[in-house]
Amino acid sequence: MKKYTYTEKKDTRSGFGVGLHEAGQKNPNIIALTADLKGSMKMDAFANEFPDRFVQIGIAEANMIGIAAGMTIGGKIPFTGTFANFSTGRVYDQIRQSVAYSYKNVKICASHAGLTLGEDGATHQILEDIGLMKMLPGMVVINPCDYNQTKAATLAIAEYEGPVYLRFGRPSIPVFTDPDQKFEIGKAWMVNEGTDVTIIATGHMVWKAIEAGEQLAALGIDAEIINIHTIKPLDEEAILKSLKKTGCVVTCEEHNKFGGLGESVARLLTTELPSPQEFVAVNDSFGESGTPDELMTKYGLDTINIVEAAQKVIKRKK
């Protein structure tokens, strides 16, 4: 097992804030919009340096999506910022008609996704957003795994022409990816090569997958770990190549098991390479209040859940 270490923990949303600021310095057409969450979205640096290109919408997310769609007409590249729940479910039809169907170059940037939002509870913990967004034709869906990858993803989507959903989170988590990485949309990152089982993880679950890989190695199981940061378009080639070698897969995501990364992988495998699969995901449930760690344990998204799923799926191989 390849060794991964970290020296500090940071929130992925701060990676977004730094990436947005840098993208804004590079390209004068980049606009930032928020619905009364400038601080939470880490947009202060951008807003302070480019006050004319920062749009405070107020608490009106539907209007924000529409304004962002309109701003593309004339060449601007709007980045909208609010929590994942208010970025997707609240404004689904606005995104569907004014952004996706109209194919506008809007970047929908969403923090506080998943359970790790913590104490605010289920009203704010959306676990359905990946599903909602990936069902929209033409929408790119990205869920980076740490501060550095989120910054790199933010810079990458600024240069991509078309609608994007960028999902990140609130808690401080290990920073373990390369600070100078080149982020390629739709390209999986091979975290660790192995032969016994493939572990595919996205977002906050990638570090847990690495921890699980270490525990499995101690048990004599050689796990291949793949980071799928881009859920759509899915890197089908990387997944199929891995499954041809390992023959089974565990998918890991901080999302409902319905509609998420796991289902995208299952759809691919069912049609191309039928293989045993286990899902480490929320089991069709809303969340609740608690600390991020408590919630990840209660809803079965811990390192141990990945280890157990890997052992189970290996036994299911013919």
């Binding site: 290109r53 539907a62 209007n63 304004i67 309109g70 701003m71 004339g74 060449g75 569907r96 169907y101």
Partner: protein, 281 residues
């Protein structure tokens, strides 16, 4: 003026023919609201707006128009085609398979003149505000026009946009409400009363003007007046009274023609009331 009022009225007569023929041709679509806005849309595209039929999505240096109540697509398509954005013969494909002239306006099939999809109501003003903000950032002094149904104002997103625009001094925006008092289920007064739209918009900080939308002379003047009010720190709201179905006697004033197609006999009657001025498609 680019055209005389008589010339514009002749165009309107042809636009009305296009509308009823398109809806009749596929036995589907929305003639009532389309007919009510025929004068306004003709005035906008043939007189008021500075625009190029060599369509470019970004519309730099051009006035832009957004149709929020996308179901009155027949009048939009007719006016775009008659202006020269695409061949009028394409109107015959309205609502048919493999057409760019979809049931509701869309950018998806690449029809020149359309800059956003609309149909799901209440989204157009937000989009127009975004386009107006971009014009300001680009130091582009042209204007943004919109049209909304009155019933459409029951959608909450409008009021987010109506609150945003004056506070942010979006004064390069002229929004028009098609104030015909009708919606699918009946008169707005019975479905969900709008009460005083003028008082509502004024309370939010808009400069409100009123106009009579089925009088070509008056609507041209009203739009010129609206243009003179731009650049003064406030968005402009043109509260335009119209009659649904205007120009076709048996359709006038009734919500029953909101989304109903005429039969052969009704088509003949509607065409007899509106002379062919520019040649049918």
């Amino acid at each position: 003026m680019k055209h005389t009022i008589n010339e514009l009225e002749d165009i309107v007569s042809q636009v009305r023919r296009d509308i009823v023929r398109m809806v009749h041709g596929c036995q589907s679509g929305h003639p009532g609201g389309s007919l009510g806005c025929a004068e306004f849309m003709t005035a906008l595209y043939f007189e008021t707006m500075h625009h190029s039929t060599d369509f470019k999505m970004d519309g730099i240096g051009e006035d832009l128009f957004f149709l929020s109540n996308g179901h009155i697509s027949p009048v939009f398509y007719s006016v775009l085609a008659r202006s020269g954005y695409f061949e009028v013969s394409e109107l015959a494909t309205f609502r048919k398979l493999n057409s760019r002239v979809q049931g509701h306006p869309t950018t998806h099939e690449g029809l020149p003149g359309i800059r956003i999809a609309s149909g799901s109501l209440g989204q157009g003003m937000s989009v127009a505000i975004g386009a107006a903000l971009t014009k300001k950032l680009n130091k582009d002094h042209s204007l943004v026009f919109t049209l909304h149904g009155d019933g459409e104002l029951q959608e909450g997103q409008n009021w987010e946009a109506i609150m945003f625009a004056p506070f942010n001094k979006v004064d390069n925006l002229i929004s028009t409400i098609d104030y015909n008092g009708q919606q699918i289920d009946g008169p707005t007064e019975k479905v969900l009363s709008l009460e005083s739209l003028q008082a509502k918009f004024e309370a939010f900080g808009w400069h409100v003007i009123t106009s009579s939308g089925n009088d070509m002379g008056e609507i041209v003047k009203s739009l010129e007046y609206a243009k003179s009010l731009t650049g003064k720190g406030r968005p402009i709201l043109n509260l335009m009274s119209t009659q649904m179905g205007n120009g076709v006697d048996f359709m006038v004033g009734s919500h029953k023609w909101h989304g109903t197609a005429p039969n052969d006999e009704q088509l003949a009657s509607a065409l007899a009331q509106n002379k062919e001025t520019l040649g049918d498609y």
